[in-house]
């Protein structure tokens, strides 16, 4: 399998002060859907814009489909489709005019009507962009990227601010593009989106990759597929956390807002032992849930923070 996107020791410093990206390495294969996952301000957008050739890195190498931006910008532009985090397209142009305009920049674009059909925008083809809903605008943004018939699709937070139905529509579109052999690089701060779409992902924090792998890998590395969360009456101080660590099958313990969370391999071994332990301490169980571990747990485990925190 050929490498679609590769970067080595990427760094970007704004105004000589703010280090947005601090030594980032990536290798993305063709046909892959790769996700950059991280909180706001982690350096995701800076990274993707450097890869798109829209920002000059302070240092480091970027290679797209084996070419560098410096030498083959024009060719590369023909091969990429990009959707920026926030582009306000001209409100007084119709959907068809907008896609047609973008198509005119490429040597061999796809038919505008095909793309509109695929994006479920045919009904809105003659409507002005200003009249579209948020979901339709976002689909239009992706349509302007897909009309070029790209080999690689870059999407910067494609579903931020969309309603659940619009998100799912976009996911289907991205899935179809990948199914037809396309490579996708997307950024997101939604866990479910990353788990659902990405073959592999990198968790980015403070301009560096802190973990990389398939979603299942990353969760596996957490040391348990299940999370048991409970609360008990009375205060459980930090010393008490050690007790939970001793329970069978528990991999790690954390506490938050009076709830204790255990990463657990086999809940059927942990839970009876947990109930016994609480009983012995003379506390009352006030709350108990178990669920599948998610990428959110991975992120919290790695950074001690939640993804959506500013």
């Amino acid at each position: 399998m050929a490498t679609a996107i590769q970067c080595r020791d990427l760094r970007k410093t704004y105004d000589g002060k703010v280090e947005a990206v601090r030594g980032l390495n990536l290798e993305i294969q063709t046909g892959e859907c790769f996700g950059l996952l991280g909180p706001n301000g982690a350096g995701k957008t800076t990274t993707i814009e450097i890869l798109e050739g829209l920002l000059e890195p302070t240092s480091g190498e970027v290679s797209i489909l084996g070419h560098s931006w410096r030498e083959n910008e024009r060719e590369l532009r023909e091969w990429l489709g990009i959707s920026l985090q926030e582009t306000r397209l001209s409100e007084k142009l119709s959907v068809r005019e907008t896609v047609g305009l973008f198509a005119s920049f490429y040597r061999e674009p796809r038919s505008t009507d095909d793309v509109l059909e695929e994006m479920q925008l045919t009904e809105k083809a003659d409507a002005w962009v200003g009249k579209l809903s948020g979901g339709q605008r976002q689909r239009l943004a992706v349509a302007t990227a897909l009309v070029s018939n790209p080999k690689i699709l870059f999407l910067d937070e494609p579903t931020t601010g969309l309603d659940p139905q619009s998100r799912r529509q976009l996911w289907d579109i991205i899935g179809e593009f990948q199914g037809a052999g396309g490579t996708v690089l997307l950024t997101t701060h939604y866990m479910d989106e990353a788990e659902r779409l990405c073959d592999r992902l990198a968790i980015v924090d403070y301009g560096q990759i802190i973990a990389e792998g398939t979603p299942a890998d990353l969760i596996e590395r957490l040391g348990g597929h299940h999370v048991v969360e409970f609360a008990i009456s009375g205060n459980s101080d930090s010393a008490a956390l050690e007790i939970w660590q001793e329970l069978p099958s528990v991999e790690s313990v954390r506490e938050e807002d009076g709830m204790v969370g255990l990463s657990v391999r086999e809940p059927h071994l942990t839970i009876p032992a947990l109930l016994d332990a609480i009983d012995k301490q003379g506390h009352q169980l006030e709350h108990l849930t178990t669920r599948q571990a998610s990428l959110e747990d991975v992120f919290v485990r790695l950074t001690g923070r939640h993804l959506r925190e500013e």
């Binding site: 829209l54 397209l89 007084k92 061999e108 796809r110 038919s111 002005w128």
Partner: protein, 370 residues
Amino acid sequence: MSVAEKIPVVTIPSPKRPVRRNGRWAGYWHLLWARLLELKREPEVVFWVFVFPLLLAAGLGIAFRNKPVQAAPVAIVSGAAADRAEALLQRSPRHASFKIDVLDESAARKGFRLGKYDLVIQPDLAGGLRYLYDPARPESVLARAEVDDALQAAAGRKDVVATSEITSSEPGSRYIDFLIPGLLGMNLMNSGMWGVGFALVDMRQRKLLKRFVGTPMRRGDFLAALLSSRLVLMIMEIGLLLSLGVIFFHMKVLGSIFTIVLLGSIGALCFGGVGLLTASRAQKIESVSGLMNLVMMPMWIFSGVFFSYERFPAMAQPLIKALPLTALNDALRASILEGTPLVHQWPRLLVMALWGGISFVLALRWFRWT
């Protein structure tokens, strides 16, 4: 491998429409067309570019139109001598140019103060007449001279020098003739600066420029399309204003349409370049608005749009003549009003070409796409 196993693998090619191929200029034409569509759909643009200058020209044209000479309103204070003065004036061959009212002194003075009368004639105690007039009001001065002349002639004064008169109020030397080319120049400046500068900063602010740069769009084509859209509008602006002048104010256009359009094009491109430079780095509409006004303000005042720049001190003249709007206004006036050929206007063309060309080069160097 059996046939049966193979069948599901065969995919029927989806009925995709054939790939189209774009030529070298496809991007340019689409950008130009998109720009014109946007302008057409923006009611504010239609108003400021087309309706506003027409209203301005019509309003000023009507306010400063050449009025037919009206009878001067004259008050005579009633009294014994009043009848004699009125009779003398009525006997004068010029009696039609006065409108005479006889009334008491306080009413006459009040009417004079309010501007109802240009002149008050008051018989004095010695049997003569006394004129009450305001030397600061031209019509008052004129009425005094005319009335005095008429009275003296009617009373038997003999003119010692034989004189005769010819009147002249030809189209070409009226205020509206001065005004229309000036408005045309100002309009080309306003719409050039705003049309290019505002559009660019707006697109930069909306991250649309950045999105465009993410495609293989040729950056030169983009700027060329923006400037070309100005040329299309310029032709309409010239057509509208000149038609207004010709149809409603019977203006005479002496220069050829070709020359005027060519001057307009040079002017439009010149201000397009200045607009490009003004907008080359600004990130926000607010900051570019201030810059634009700063650049245009001196030209609104000094470049002879509404009144001749000859009124400014001689020392300032070379500076004023180096402004691009002065060059455009002078060139348009020379062409439209006097039919001066282009070859005689080369210093003005050079001024515009330098402003536009240097701005364009600097703008390209400093331009910020993201």
